[in-house]
């Protein structure tokens, strides 16, 4: 199982901040994981419609959407950060 975290506008669009999911083997990159997540519900589809405004972290480390997923405990998806 993979813990998927959503923050800010992504969290609001999906309606929850955290899901425990079991992605298929085809979700081998962050981008492919997002493709799969987008099929889960219309809300997920809407949240991930604009990839240019989507950022990701694997186990707390910022990564590009092209990054290999590996076997992390946690993936976070969110819009660009807007500062402290």
């Amino acid at each position: 199982m993979l813990r998927v975290l959503y923050f800010a506008s992504v969290r609001e669009a999906i309606g929850t901040g955290e899901e425990m999911l079991d992605p298929p083997p085809e979700a081998a990159t962050v981008s492919a994981l997002i493709d799969w997540l987008a099929t889960l519900s219309p809300a997920h589809g809407a949240a991930f419609a604009d990839r240019a405004r989507l950022r990701a972290a694997i186990d707390g480390r910022f990564v590009s959407l092209h990054a290999a997923l590996g076997k992390p405990a946690e993936v976070a998806l969110f819009p660009p950060v807007t500062g402290g």
């Binding site: 972290a57 910022f62 402290g84």
Partner: protein, 147 residues
């Protein structure tokens, strides 16, 4: 001493500075960010990525400590709902001499703005809206936790 706090309660400036000065420095620099209300903002909500935020702030503080041989580096960041006039962030650096303290303080607040996972939502006229990232900020943000 490195001190990182991410908290929902108010920032106690005097208490934090007493800790910093106790480290025996000759020079202490601080930066305090305060929620501005000048453009009609009634509330500011700050969301963050628990765990990753603290790690990002700690990495920045460690980098600054090594680079400027600091005696101490403190970052206290408030999250949750704030009103105009309230402190949102405090950075304090201590060093034997002034240039190191001042440069490290400026470095920390600059990097913190782009390298830590914070998202701002502003309420104006009763309506809440996420703040859009500026391109310059976002370019810098790709540095976050990468190294």
């Amino acid at each position: 001493m490195i001190r990182i706090l991410v908290q929902t309660g108010p920032i106690d400036l005097a208490a934090e500075l007493a800790l910093v000065e106790a480290d025996g420095a000759g020079a202490v620099a601080t930066f305090t960010g305060i929620v501005r209300g000048d453009d009609g903002v009634q509330l500011l909500d700050l969301e963050h990525y628990p765990g990753a935020t603290e790690a990002a702030l700690r990495t920045l503080a460690e980098d600054a400590t090594v680079r400027w041989s600091l005696l101490s580096a403190t970052v206290v960041h408030r999250v949750g709902t704030m009103r105009p006039g309230e402190r949102i962030v405090l950075v304090a650096t201590a060093a034997p001499h002034r240039a190191a303290a001042l440069d490290a303080c400026a470095f920390l607040i600059d990097r913190l703005k782009t390298d830590a996972p914070f998202w701002k939502r502003e309420t104006r006229g009763g309506e809440a809206r996420w703040v859009e990232a500026r391109e310059s900020d976002d370019a810098a943000a790709t540095r976050w936790a990468r190294d």
